[in-house]
């Protein structure tokens, strides 16, 4: 059984199936599976109004190759991995996951490190945009950092 497990990279308009992603990327060469879920939080860092949902849009033509590049870079840095990286599009309600990253590795060190690397890289350079939708019906775009930086 190879430690280079499956890669599951994508954008999804449907709720994320976290358990299925974890099963898909783990093999019997893996002794550690780390899952990161980014979920819709009620409090905004920039706005006092309670958040009801996040709305995501993506440009798949640019976003998917960038996510695949992050998965390749994670393997270059941390060794052979199984990796799933799926981000929601559309409205994601309070408490629901908007992004799921699963890393399966032979040991926990590279699994934790690669998962942290992957979410940080995704937030900084994948062509996905987020609007906070407040309970009062208004909304505001929230930016992480410039693409490519």
């Amino acid at each position: 059984m190879r430690a280079e497990g499956e890669r599951m990279i994508g954008l999804s308009a449907e709720p994320l199936e976290v358990d299925a992603l974890a099963r898909a990327v783990r093999t019997d060469a893996h002794g550690a599976v780390v899952t990161f879920l980014g979920t819709t939080r009620e409090t905004s860092p920039d706005d006092p109004r309670p958040v009801a949902a996040l709305e995501y849009e993506a440009y798949p033509l640019v976003a998917i190759p960038a996510m695949e590049a992050i998965a390749r870079e994670a393997e270059e840095r941390f060794g052979p991995l199984g990796i799933a990286m799926v981000h929601r599009t559309g409205a994601v309600a309070l408490g629901e996951p908007s992004v799921c990253i699963v890393v399966a590795a032979p040991h926990r060190g590279p699994a934790f490190d690669a998962c942290r690397f992957a979410i940080d890289a995704l937030k900084s350079r994948v062509a996905i945009w987020k609007k906070e939708r407040y309970r009062d019906g208004n909304g505001a775009w929230v930016e992480n950092t410039e693409i490519g930086h």
Partner: protein
């Protein structure tokens, strides 16, 4: 020549539409695509410095030439996760 412009997030809202087909002179570059759109939507100007461009899926500078049938994307700073 004709190019298709895709605008995302805040830029899409300021333009009032995510997709525009533009007629341009041969030899035009991405900066001229931006200028043409900003001429009709002055609120765009404040976001020029933070906007990144893609041509047919590859990130390019504003000086990059555009060709008939190209898909040019206007991308504000990202906000995934």
């Amino acid at each position: 020549m004709r190019v298709r412009v895709l605008a995302f997030a805040r830029l899409r809202e300021l333009l009032g539409s995510g997709t525009r087909d533009l007629e341009l002179a041969e030899g035009a570059n991405v900066e001229q695509v931006w200028a043409l759109l900003a001429g009709g939507a002055p609120a765009l100007a404040a976001f020029r410095a933070s906007t990144r461009f893609a041509r047919n899926g590859a990130l390019v500078d504003a000086a990059a030439r555009v060709h008939d049938g190209d898909e040019i994307a206007l991308m504000p700073p990202v906000g995934g996760g």
